[in-house]
Symmetry: C2
Subunit: 169 residues, 2 copies
DNA sequence: CTTGGAATGTCAACAAGACTGACGTATTTT
DNA sequence: AAAATACGTCAGTCTTGTTGACATTCCAAG
């Protein structure tokens, strides 16, 4: 509360970008941009009885083929029961395969089938197209700043997951 | 599909930041960052029988006091039935007031009560605190880039709403 | 070797929050 | 007077999150 305007009052002018008003703009930008970010895949998914949750599962299984349910759980940040429902439909529909682990038979290793990869491509293409347009319009320096801010905005656990994913490639 | 790697193949090196891999990273950064972005308000709301939907309504009523239901509908991008459920509880609980319009009596003008403003402050402070940390760590140039990319990522309608809100202040 | 606890995953039931469709009412516009 | 607009509401559905209970598997301590 009292913390609010103390930023620019205390430090002259170099920190003008930290005013409450600037922060509020950032918050709203985040809100509106996220809507755009998910709009295209949502449109594709609607009508095929899948939703955003399916998209997320497909995305990360694609990135880490053979990953376990537990692994996916940590990345997605939902309960295993919630993930399971999504996974079940994907497996039933032949988009994902689930193999019992060799060393640890409790684990299930998840992989996309050909059909799964095809859908992943379709969704990914749509989402990347928007991203690419945004990146191109903004230019490389803006993109660098964009990523820097997003990374500082993550929870530490999420940042770890994010970095781990990047390193794995 | 075939469009994928054509970016860097076609244009030498200046467009390396537009590779599929770079875009994929951006997508994941967006996903993880948005989780962090909503985490703090979500934590506050949980247990008070409110959710993210209430937060959004409160946020925009605070920013545009006296706004109408229709206005809010356009900004939030949900159906009136959905918004109504949220609004009803907020009004019942004395956080929002609804006044019949003076010039057009069909309209309802929405305003936060003192209690509503108090909750808005609490939520806003939490969200801004994270935003401020992220901004401070990233620095002013990164923040500028961040906003540029987010704005290019919005749907045109959303961008219009976003800009309009900014101008109104 | 057995047994109890921890880890992994599945099934069932429920809640929040989004959606559609239909309808009622008051008010404004044509 | 009729049509359109703004708002509220009821009923029903869907997605996606939750908790609770349970089966299977693994591992380690007795």
């Amino acid at each position: 509360m009292a913390e609010g305007q103390s930023q620019n009052a205390s430090s002259g002018q170099a920190l003008l970008y930290l005013t409450d008003e600037q922060l509020r703009q950032g918050i709203e930008a985040m809100f509106f941009a996220y809507r755009g970010f998910t709009a295209d895949p949502d449109r594709i998914l609607e009508g095929m009885s899948y939703g955003r949750a399916h998209h997320r599962a497909i995305h990360f299984i694609h990135c880490a083929p053979g990953t376990t349910v537990n692994n996916l759980l940590a990345i997605l940040g939902v309960t295993k029961q919630s993930l399971n429902r999504v996974l079940r439909t994907l497996i039933e529909d032949g988009l994902v395969t689930s193999h019992v682990g060799r060393s640890d038979k409790r684990e299930r290793h998840l992989t996309l089938t050909e059909a799964g990869e095809a859908l992943e491509q379709q969704l990914s293409d749509a989402q990347r197209a928007r991203m690419r347009d945004a990146y191109r319009k903004a230019g490389p320096e803006a993109v660098a700043g964009f990523k820097t801010v997003l990374e500082s905005m993550m929870d530490d656990d999420m940042k770890r997951a994010y970095v781990t994913l990047r390193e794995g490639r």
